[in-house]
């Protein structure tokens, strides 16, 4: 693979990998570092990768493994140091915007508190838009497991939404 091919095929996956890493290591710099390491590994072993679909799955798996290695070797603080900085566009009343942003924050916290598999499956599907098959490849689980985890995650999120609306939790 030439540098040009790398730029056009591998480099564009950077944000997906970054978001995936961020969710595991919960540290911005660390996640960035991991994505960089993944790309260097891909570059060094580039004769192995041919089609893009597999490249992406392979990169994701590599990212996941590197994240787990880092989490294991360091004791990460699990405090939520990253509150997503959201900016809501549109000409809404400021008050309304604030409220929305709070609900979104609490959704974010809730998704972070889900079991790891559920969280990963839901993010890969609902944020990144991968197919069940691709997710299965990335997380090395079968399709039925992908569906079960997604179903549980969405169900929990739905219940949480109902609670937020009913009690403002």
């Amino acid at each position: 693979m030439s540098l040009e091919a790398f730029k056009s095929r591998v480099l564009p996956t950077k944000n997906k990998l970054y978001r995936f890493a961020l969710q595991i290591v919960k540290d911005d710099e660390e996640a960035k570092d991991i994505v960089q390491e993944v790309f260097i590994k891909v570059w060094n072993g580039k004769q192995e990768i041919e089609d893009l679909e597999n490249t992406e799955a392979w990169c994701m798996r590599l990212t996941r493994n590197l994240c787990y290695d880092r989490v294991k070797s360091k004791r990460f603080k699990t405090t939520d140091s990253l509150e997503p900085s959201m900016s809501i566009q549109g000409g809404e009343v400021p008050d309304k915007t604030m409220e929305m942003s709070d609900t979104m924050k609490s959704i974010d916290r809730f998704i972070h508190s889900l079991p790891e598999k559920q969280q990963q499956v839901m993010r890969l599907r609902d944020i990144e838009g991968y197919s069940y098959k691709e997710i299965g490849k990335m997380l090395e689980i079968d399709m039925s497991q992908v569906k079960v985890n997604l179903f549980r995650a969405r169900k929990a999120v739905r219940e949480n939404l109902v609670n937020i609306n009913a009690y403002g939790l």
């Binding site: 540098l3 790398f6 730029k7 480099l11 950077k14 944000n15 970054y18 978001r19 961020l22 960035k32 994505v35 960089q36 790309f39 260097i40 570059w43 060094n44 580039k46 997503p84 959201m86 809501i88 549109g90 809404e92 929305m100 609900t103 979104m104 959704i107 974010d108 993010r123 599907r125 609902d126 944020i127 990144e128 838009g129 991968y130 197919s131 569906k147 997604l150 179903f151 969405r154 169900k155 999120v157 739905r158 939404l161 109902v162 609306n165």
Partner: protein
């Protein structure tokens, strides 16, 4: 967009039966204003999912990675040197054959194949071996006899059983 359709899509979404396209449709619907009141409670979720996709690395990351990759040119593969022409190939083949033949011949001469594998035994030794074998067989034979005696004892029980059966039939 038709809110009836959105309701249907939402039900499918919770049941994990939506396609990626349908999920995108939902995100698009909830990011557009205004959302009907009865669906408003789902707005933050789909907006959140849509927003999360915007968390991204900046362009300085690309530069950093690319500069690292450019400094780190991929390892060069081993060079294959081609032989000059066909007669070099033939010469090499002949050379290999001659060398192999020579080495095999050396090996053959070193190991004296004509020697018999085992020396024959003398008469006295043969007799000794014969006696040993005979003794062993006798031991086996006496052990078998002992076993047979025991088995004969058991056959008494068999006879008794036959007798009882016979008597039972008569009755």
């Amino acid at each position: 967009m038709d809110s009836k359709r959105i309701e249907q899509l939402l039900e499918k979404y919770w049941a994990c039966e939506t396609t990626v396209e349908e999920e995108n449709e939902l995100k698009a619907f909830f990011s557009e204003q205004p959302v009907p009141d009865h669906l408003k409670e789902y707005t933050p979720l789909f907006q959140y999912l849509d927003e999360e996709k915007h968390k991204a690395l900046d362009d300085s990351f690309d530069e950093e990675v690319l500069s690292k990759l450019e400094n780190k040119k991929p390892e060069k593969q081993g060079k294959i040197i081609k032989m000059a022409s066909w007669y070099v190939k033939v010469a090499a083949a002949v050379l290999v054959t001659i060398a192999a033949a020579f080495l095999l011949r050396e090996q053959y001469l070193k190991s004296d194949v004509r020697q018999p594998v085992e020396e024959s035994l003398s008469d006295a030794e043969l007799r000794e071996k014969f006696e040993e074998a005979k003794e062993a067989l006798q031991k086996i034979s006496s052990a078998l006899n002992k076993g047979q005696e025991q088995v004969e004892k058991i056959s008494v029980f068999n006879d008794a059983e036959e007798k009882i059966k016979g008597e039972q039939k008569e009755l």
